[in-house]
Structure formats: structure tokens, C-alpha cells
Subunit: 501 residues, 2 copies
Amino acid sequence: MARTGSLGTLVSVDLDREAEVPIHEQIADALRQAVAAGHLQNGTRLPSTRALARDWGVSRNTVMHVFDTLTGEGLLASRVGAGTYIAANQQADDEDDGAATPVAPSPASTGYPFRRLSARGRNLVTQSTGALTEKPTPFMPDVPDLKSFPMRSWLRLMNEVTGRLKGNILVNVTNAGYEPLREAIVHHLKVTRKVDCHTDQVIITTGSQQSLDLVSRLLLERGDPVWIEEPGYIGTRATLIANGCTVYPVQTDHDGINIETGQRSFPAPRMIVTSPARHYPLGGRMTPARRSQILAYSRDSGAWILEDDYDCEFIYKGGIRSAIKSQDSEDRVIMIGTFSKTLLPSFRLGFVVAPKDLAVDFARARAVIDRHAPILEQMVLAEFMHRGLYAAHLRHMRELYQSRQACMVSVLKATVGYQPPTLELESGMHIVLPLKDEVDDRDVSMTLWERGATARPLSIYYSSKAKRKGLLLGFAAFQASDIHSHGPRLTPLETLVNRAD
Amino acid sequence: MARTGSLGTLVSVDLDREAEVPIHEQIADALRQAVAAGHLQNGTRLPSTRALARDWGVSRNTVMHVFDTLTGEGLLASRVGAGTYIAANQQADDEDDGAATPVAPSPASTGYPFRRLSARGRNLVTQSTGALTEKPTPFMPDVPDLKSFPMRSWLRLMNEVTGRLKGNILVNVTNAGYEPLREAIVHHLKVTRKVDCHTDQVIITTGSQQSLDLVSRLLLERGDPVWIEEPGYIGTRATLIANGCTVYPVQTDHDGINIETGQRSFPAPRMIVTSPARHYPLGGRMTPARRSQILAYSRDSGAWILEDDYDCEFIYKGGIRSAIKSQDSEDRVIMIGTFSKTLLPSFRLGFVVAPKDLAVDFARARAVIDRHAPILEQMVLAEFMHRGLYAAHLRHMRELYQSRQACMVSVLKATVGYQPPTLELESGMHIVLPLKDEVDDRDVSMTLWERGATARPLSIYYSSKAKRKGLLLGFAAFQASDIHSHGPRLTPLETLVNRAD
């Protein structure tokens, strides 16, 4: 029962609803082929999603997802007023991403026509990690439980601190942030991460992304080699490349980033970015041996270490390991932390622990970049921490997330017969479900999406071709009853799971 | 009654307390000479302000102000843990700033030792406009009345919007900002600035400084020529230079930026930055003729116009003129606006109206730079605007500021016998008191500061040597009674005022 749709008046698409290849993939393929064959020229505008959905007899969501996929591949682009159009020249260089191939930003161009982005602007835009998520549906990862946030206490504190203001709202604020909050963070890092730092070193940012951008701009020259974890957090890679650095994806296993592999394959880095507390996305925790090794290598090679302390708060078993920064006698480690996962992402609060001798420069740079982070939230968070409410909230969320993790494990066992390794269950807000190598996890992710479940493909966290396949299944934001009731949506994965992994 | 102090064991400073030259200037001069003569080597650490104050028999504040002045001149620098030290190699190139000399950023260097800032990092740091102000003292400019802000209504709205959340805090938020706030801004611009723009074009930022940084990164290539107003807002110049652009200060009079002067002296710009609603700091309002001229020149030369709509809200007489953007048929004008002066600077809320065809790129870039602005304030502001509370607040503040302006005028007449020209009183939050050409307004500013009054020197807003001298006296943040009671602190200015101006 094939159906022929017409892409405006441009190209026809044959859909076979009985084929094994899902409809959205058939459409995406047809568009890819039409571009490759030159039937759809660069700049050609596509009809609206509504019109195409009607033409093809599919849901508008399906069309939108095809657009998203092809936009991600650089084949489509959209502009306000111009709709969606073919942009084949912006095609991502995904195919050239060999395992040991560095990812370099676009070269700077001299002399470019009016209305075009600058070279660095293009780097920013092409590295974008895309739009924000809507209301989270199970099993979206990286989202904290929004309902458990003590909004009433928070607002009470806000009432209290604003009542004390009396027109001196700028007191105690520098470009580096609100002094009592910086003190609270120093104390928190001392107690929870064994990190000794001075209040002056703590620079309040609007989250990890801004911290990464700030560090990149201040410490990294365009062209500087930077090692990142492979696989690793997409936002890190994006910021580094957008700022003109050349990133080298260094193989990372459950013990942490593999310095020896990096040394063998890549030039001496100017910076090594790592997430030792809990590797993102695989969940490993860096061993003491690796920590010593990375510090020693940093000393020998003159590299900075950027310690992304993401997810250090949700450790359920095996004890919390102190930060690399705690052993950093030479002040080579820059630490970044975020409150996006422990409070609400919408507050936009994070911090950098800057090197002692450069802390003043970090603060001064903020004056030019954006002055400082918003103050009211900083004042409230300072109170929240000083009164012990933050520590209590973390304890509460840790228990809650651990119980939800157990629920997720039982659902995975029941629906797809998978039991995650013990190590991965020691911490974190998601579980990685490994899929067989031959599976395209992006397709699987889209199929699940159409079934009402969100699962992020593992392969997108790899820069090189050797991608492991899998799905990130988040459990933190969802009640046990939702995890159970949405569980059956995962049933189609049963034959795809890689149980040998 | 000369007193000899010793700068640690390094150099002696002779202070003459009966000389006309103020003590702080004597100290600063002695330090400048010691550096010039090589007695104080680069990197030499100075004793603490406390120790120096004791040595010299002056107040610690005086020492701190000398440090501030010399840090501003690039002669001193400070580091956490290293205190304050001589940094003569970072000396500002103030002396070379000829009238028609562009100000270029430091060249990029290749290969630099560990622990140093990157070239762009140094540009950010050296362009820094410095620390935030403490509790405002009269007559600090650029500060809105903090006590008049309706904090109770604001918190009630926050209670209300957070009560509606129910765990879907991410809904309606994209990297460009909270949709209903963007709609409210579109409506506000339509009504107050005659600007027609689409919601998609409005990108919520954390204020003008971030807006400028975003526009610079996205649209300007390193080395691009940019025209700025002379005199003009320091933050603009700082961001452009920090981002590698070469800025050309174009003479600006009460009719606005002088395009003809720019054309005669400078290369065709890639962007023209202007503040037509109310020139900062002189208070002129761009005439319709100049508006047409700047639009025509932008068309001919292929330059963007960056319209900084700062201070457009506080127009007291002569009617509000629409924005240049309202006549922008070719979408060449990028508009930036801020809520820092109309609400509270601490909220960090501002916006960019991006060109239609690049709006999506602006939003995408935010994903890499800092994700998005904090959401709760955006939600509250959206409600505040939609319910008409913002318009009411603006009306209230306009009346309040106008009455404070009148009070300031009477104080200036009584204390220093100066009457500002009518044109300058049509708008704004400060009055510029012109001083005689031979006066160093930075010294006068410091003398006033020691007398308990804040007045910012006019000369710092000039990039070229031909600096007019004067003081910016803010009145918006201070009650009439404070303006009156602090008035006498201005009395020493009586002989310095340039009444011919």
C-alpha cells in the first residue's frame, strides 16, 4: 500500500506503510537522496509541516521529527519568515569523524557578505546543542524532579531577604557574585568534596555552560588542543569547538579518561576536560590511580585540568570520592559545578573555582561579558545553604532518586530482561541501556518517541566513528507509578538489547 | 609639614599636607615616578593597604583609591594570594589615543607559557569596566531608585506563577527565552517605540552587556571596524574591543552620531553603534534628519546599525521619538534594550531584537553560551507587563525622576551656580556638570568621593585625547531630602564649573 506524496511541486516521495523501515526514516531517506541527486537545490524552501503532513498522510509530529533529524544532520535549516529550507552546504562532517580525528572549528574567513554570521558566530551556531525540552516525558534524562523542589521554602526565603534589602541591593555583590553565596560554596566544597579554596576563587555563573564558555575564552587560544572524554558531555565539546579549540576525544572507560591512550594518539593538550565524580553519560567513577596519573601528566605537560563536578551529588553506594581538585597542590585544576540538577535548571546557577592567581581576572572578565549573575536567586541560595536546607534537600533527593532507580531497574528487567551492572547503579540520574552494535539508536529513540517515551541515543555522545549504541533512560524526574506505567512502552527494545555488554 | 613614608623598604614618598595637590595625587605621582625611574620593578609586590596607610599617616580609603586609580591606569594589578603588585607592562595606551586613532585589541599570540590568559582572555580582562558599586551614595549615576521598586507585587506574582508550575517549569521556554515575555516585549516595543517585530526575533538576555557580547560574537569578525559614539558608553567599547573588533570613536553632538565625520575619517564600518533615544552620557536625542542619514549610510555601506535603546523610558519633555528600528525597512537595525534601569539591575534582564533571518541563529548560539536566561524572573516580568504593572511603574518612576531632576537643578544652582541647558533636562537619570578644560575631572571625582559624594568623571567616556571635562551627577536613586542634604558637598566645584559650555 505505497503512497506517493509530493514535496510541494519539487520531488515525490514513495512511502511504503508495510515496509520494516519506519515511515519517518523513509521520508528522511527520500529527502537525503533528493538532495544528493541535486533534485532539491540548496536554499529551496520546503512547504509547511502541516501541508507536508497532509500530502504524505502522516502526522505533523512525524514531519517535524524528520525536520529535526535532517536539521541535526545539517541538511535542513530554518529561518523566521523563510521557513525550512535545504542547507546542504552546512552538512555536518559526521562522516569524516574517524576515531583519532580531531574536531576543528571552521576556519576564520576574511571578507564576507553583509548579513552573514562571523566565523566564530557560525561556530557557535553549528555547535548548538539545540532547543530546550518541553515538559519532560518519561524517560527523559538530565531532568531533576521538579515537583520535589521546596518552592514554598524558597519563596519564603526570598520574601525574607528582599525584606532586608532597604535599597542596598548592590551591597556584597561583585562581578564574581554574591559574597555570602561564595562563602557557602567554599564551605560546601570543603565538606563534601574535600576542596580547600578561597572565597575569591569562587565565581558564580549562570550554570555549567557559561562556566565552560568563560574558561574557554579566558584560558584557551584558538587552535589550542583540548582533550575531552569519549564519549562525553555534548555541551563541553560544543563550547570548546565554538571557541575555536581543537578537541581530541580520548577514550574513557569505567576507571575514567585514559591518559595513556591520549598520550599515544594526540598532541600534548592545553587542557584536559574530565568528569571524575560521575562520568557522563556512562556513569564510571575515576579511580584513585587515574587521578594521580592525570595530575602527574598535567604537571609534566603543562596542561590545565577542567574538573566538571557534574552529578557528584547523587552517589548512592560506594562512598563519595573527593574531587581531583582536593589533591591539586599546584593549582592546575579548574573546577566547575552546577545547581541545575540539585535545585532547578531554570534558576541558572553554577560556579567556577578559578585558579588563585587568575581569580581576579575571571571576575574582571565577567564585567565585560554579562556583569554578574542575577542577585536575588544568589541571596536566596546563600540562605538556603547557610541554614542547612540545601544539605537536607540533597539528602532527600538522594533517597528519592535511589528508590526511583530501583524502580527503573525492575521495569527494565520486566520489559526487556536487562539488569544493569552494579557499578552503574552506584550513582546518577539515568541508566544506560546498551543496544546491539548494528542498531541505529537514533532511529530507536525516534520510534520510542512516537510511542510516548523519551530515551536519548547513546551514540550522540561520541565524537569518533566507534560509537557504542544504547539509550539513556532517565528516572529522576518521574514518580514510581509513572515509571511503571510507561515501562511497557520500552517492550519493543527487548530484541535490540545488547546483553553481552 | 612634609612627611616621609616608606613603601615597604622599596621607595620613599614625600607627602606635603599643605600643598595644593591632594594627598592621594601626591602618592599616586610618587608611585608613577618610582615606576618610570625603575625603582619599582614590574612584579614588585606592595605592602598591604593597612600597612601603607599606617606608614603614610593617611586613611586606608585614600590608599585604596590610589590603588584603584593606578590599577585603572594599568600600573598596578592584584591577584588573590599575591596582593597588589606593579604591572607596568600592562600600562594602558591612553597616551597614544589620538582623536582619529582607532583602538585595536592586543594581537593574538602563538605559544604562551602555562598559567597565562589567552589573547582574547587578556582583551576581556584589560577592557573590564571594573568592580560593581557598593550601596549607592549621592550622586551615583546609572542607578534606579531601589526603594520604589514594587517588590511586594513582584513577589506576589512570583508566588502565583510558581504555584501554577506543577512540574512543567520548562514549558514555553526556548533558548531565546520565555515565550509570553517575548510576546509582551513585542507589544511594548510596538506601543512605545513604534517597532514592528516578531516574537521569534526577541532574544531574552541577562542585560545589555550580554546583548552586546552576543551580537559581537555572532556578527563581527575579529578586526572588523565598528563605529562607536564619542563620547559613549564604556561597556560598549569594552565588549567590542574584547571581542577583537577595532573601534572608531565618531564625534557625537546633541543631534546624534555625526556620520559625515565618520565617513571622512574612518573606513566603512561593519557596524555602527548608537544610542539615539538618549545619548549616553551627554543626553542628546538623535534628530529625524540624522536618523534618515544613518539608515541611508547603512544601506550604502552595508553596515549593521546597533541601536542601544538605553534610557528611552525616561523622557520628560519633548515627546518620545520612535526608534530607528521603526523605520528599518531592510532589517539592518539590531536593537538592544534593558530592564536594569526600569526595574532592578540585579534581575539581569534585557533583550536583543535580532534580524529576522538570523533570529534562529541567535537562539541557537545561546544554547552553547549559557543555555538561556533564568526563567522565574522572566515569568514574573511577563505577568508584570501583561497586567499593565510595568507601564504603571514606568509612569510612576518618570514622575518621580522628573521631580528629583528639578531638585538636582535647584541644588546645582544654589551650590555651584550652574543651570543645565533645557535640552539636557528633557530626559535622563543624571545631569552632566561641565568643568573647565584644564581641570582633571578624575581628580575632582576623587576629591568629592573623599567628601562623601559620588560623581563620575565625564572624560572617561572619551576614547580620543580631545576629552571634555565634567561630572555625571545622578539623581534617580536619591530622595529629594538626600539630594538637598548632600548638595553642599559639591560646593568646592564652584570655581571649576565651565559656564561657557
